[in-house]
């Protein structure tokens, strides 16, 4: 019995020693924290870079970051994707170096940054197309215009449980010259799963497909609210593919990865029906294409010696990662424009 007790006691002593040691290290560490982050200088760059923001842009930045890290192992990098809005919140609080964004910065976010004294530069890095989806079994629907999209998911569509419920609204829109040429719609359940308000893909869909008509009709809500919103794109893909008369939208890369179980609806922006593809997104003929950005904090650029070289790398070899991540590379003149915007900062 005694034996075991002594052992227990010894364990206890060891644990408390560990605890003290940890506390002591903690005390040491914070006094020279800025120095220690720059300390393990093997050769070349050191420091750390923190990126957050859009989950759509995350795969591109993550690939760039991995390449950069293998070239400069002394630099620590983290890339997160909680959503464009969340990213800007931390960006404008001065917490992160780069904010990934699947839409341009909003006025309210510009103000927040200005208030906190965070200066930034916007760099366009790629194109994405919002892909409007249904199940491959849905033969009745293959092309929709923006009027159709508004009739199905716009502010006035609240309560429509079947595709055909939107027929009346579509003909009203057609009479006003706002589209709606896809009607009459099939008499089948309309099951919608799509991104929620925190998502840049939601914002892009609203801006590109719905906003004009919403304004024209004098509505306040950007979309109907009675649909299943999910921040997890795989949930959207699952729900859309498992229901034969479903409806939803995701970023182009998600559609490409799952194109065997999904059907992308062609979109008519006034120039005929166009399916989302690398070609149609790059030349702008697909109506729901949008640019993707990174926002670099100039305030952090001054303090962080690794940030400048990282952005240089991003705008150099980094552009190869755009296609690898499933997005559409910028045309040459846009690449030059982005590089010029960055050169103007340095």
């Amino acid at each position: 019995m005694n034996f075991a007790d002594q052992r227990l006691l010894r364990w206890g002593a060891a644990l408390s020693a560990l605890l003290l040691l940890a506390a002591a290290c903690g005390g040491d560490d914070d006094s020279d924290a800025p120095a220690s982050t720059a300390a393990p200088a093997t050769e070349g760059l050191t420091g750390s870079i923190e990126v957050s923001g859009s989950s759509t842009v995350e795969p591109i930045t993550a690939l760039v970051a991995e390449r950069f890290n293998s070239a400069h192992p002394g630099v620590g990098i983290s890339v997160e994707g909680p959503g464009t809005g969340d990213g800007f919140q931390r960006f404008c609080a001065g917490e992160i170096d780069i904010s990934d964004a699947s839409r341009a910065i909003k006025v309210s976010e510009v103000e927040a940054c200005a208030e906190a004294g965070v200066e930034w530069v916007e760099l366009k890095i790629a194109f994405d197309g919002v892909s409007v989806l249904t199940s491959p079994d849905n033969d009745a629907v293959s092309c929709l215009d923006t009027g159709d999209l508004y009739a199905l998911v716009g502010a006035e569509s609240e309560g429509f449980r079947s595709w055909s419920d939107a027929d009346g609204l579509a003909s009203e829109l057609a009479a006003a010259g706002l589209g709606g040429s896809g009607a009459p719609y099939p008499d089948a359940p309309l099951v919608i799963t799509a991104p929620g308000e925190e998502s840049g893909t939601f914002d892009a869909f609203v801006e590109l497909a719905l906003e004009d008509i919403t304004e024209e009709r004098g509505q306040d809500e950007p979309t109907r609210v009675d649909y299943q919103a999910s921040a997890n794109d795989n949930v959207i893909v699952d729900n859309v593919s498992s229901n034969p008369t479903s409806f939803g939208w995701v970023g182009f890369a998600f559609y490409v990865e799952n194109s065997s179980v999904l059907k992308a609806i062609e979109i008519d922006g006034g120039g005929g029906c166009v399916a989302p593809s690398i070609v149609s997104i790059a030349d702008g003929s697909y109506p729901l294409s949008r640019p993707l950005f990174i926002y670099v904090s100039l305030s952090r650029l001054a303090e962080n010696p690794a940030l400048g070289p990282f952005v240089d790398f991003y705008l150099g070899d980094g552009f190869f990662s755009v296609a690898e991540a499933g997005y559409v590379t910028l045309p040459d003149d846009e690449i030059s424009a982005t590089r010029a915007a960055w050169a103007g900062v340095g």
């Binding site: 914070d30 993550a62 002394g74």
Partner: protein, 320 residues
């Protein structure tokens, strides 16, 4: 031992015959059957779950072998691995053990053996029980505002407080109340006669606790701690709030010493990796997610078995 139970079973059987005669008792076998079905149902759920993840993860083990365990995270699914998550989870567990085990056990000893039964004590105990029922996400908020923002970034002035130590402190808070409660129960189960005998020969309260109460209670305390640690190991929600990296790629500067990895660098944990992989678009991640779940289960199983063996060894020593 066995002879005695056998004997009592024979007596029971004789009694039953004497009382019931030849009538058949239906209720008893029915109850036994229902209970058995309940047991089988919960086992079946577990087996189906295990079979599902193991089957789904097989392609990964066959194609990747150990590299899926030992590689760092990568945005390329063919090269990614979970070692950063395993390191994070193990270090988090170590921090939780170091902090909440001594604190929780000490608090429980005070409450059970020293504190007088006043209104304040009863209020304290009721509060601790309530804390154990608070959803884990709330502890995540606490960790973010207190450990990350207030202490690490505020008082200590770190650039980013989203470090392993902040996550470990958060999880320690989460399990501390449960640790106190399980230890209290273990101490309560020690027969009062043991304490009385010890006091009777003139032992002080501390001598009684150290030499007589704790040795008897330690196996139960151990069991409680193992369950508590398993819970901390599998938590993801509070860590997400308290700053674990939810990412397909992150890297600390090469050559960072382990103390800095704990105190000054970003981290992730195995449950976070499972969550993140499950929401990636590429098909490969379905199998990778299953593989990460298998890894988590295996680590939990190894840790639990190890602790149970240690507990049994302790129990045998105590009997001698």
């Amino acid at each position: 031992m066995t002879a005695r139970t056998m004997g009592s079973r024979v007596t029971q059987e004789m009694l039953r015959r004497a009382l019931e005669g030849r009538r058949v008792n239906i209720v008893n076998p029915l109850v036994a059957l229902t209970l058995l079905i309940s047991l089988l149902a919960s086992l079946a759920i577990l087996v189906v779950l295990l079979w599902d993840v193991v089957a789904k993860s097989m392609p990964v083990w066959q194609e990747r072998g150990w590299s899926v365990i030992t590689n760092d995270l990568s945005p390329r699914p063919a090269e990614t691995g979970m070692i950063q998550g395993i390191f994070g989870s193990v270090m988090l567990t170590v921090i939780v053990v170091v902090l909440s085990f001594p604190l929780g056990v000490a608090a429980a000893i005070y409450l059970e053996e020293y504190a007088r039964d006043t209104r304040i004590t009863r209020l304290l105990v009721a509060n601790i029980r309530n804390l154990a029922g608070v959803p884990s996400i709330v502890y995540g908020l606490l960790g973010l505002s207190v450990f990350v923002k207030l202490i690490l970034e505020g008082v200590l002035g770190q650039i980013s407080g989203r470090t392993l130590i902040a996550g470990g402190l958060t999880l320690s808070m989460l399990v501390l109340s449960i640790m106190v409660i399980t230890t209290q129960e273990a101490l309560r189960a020690v027969p009062l006669a043991i304490r009385e005998a010890s006091f009777g020969v003139g032992a002080t309260p501390w001598q009684t606790i150290r030499h007589h109460v704790l040795p008897v209670a330690s196996p139960a305390i151990f069991t409680g701690s193992v369950l508590t640690l398993a819970r901390a190991f599998g938590e993801s929600a509070p860590l997400l709030l308290a700053g674990a990296v939810l990412s397909t790629f992150f890297a600390a500067p090469e050559g960072t010493p382990i103390t800095d990895l704990v105190l000054g660098e970003k981290y992730t944990a195995l449950p976070i990796i499972i969550y993140n992989w499950s929401r990636q678009p590429q098909q490969e991640y379905i199998a990778l997610t299953a593989a990460a779940i298998v890894a988590l289960l295996v680590i939990l199983l190894v840790v639990n078995t190890g602790t149970i063996l240690a507990r049994d060894a302790l129990e045998r020593r105590n009997r001698m």
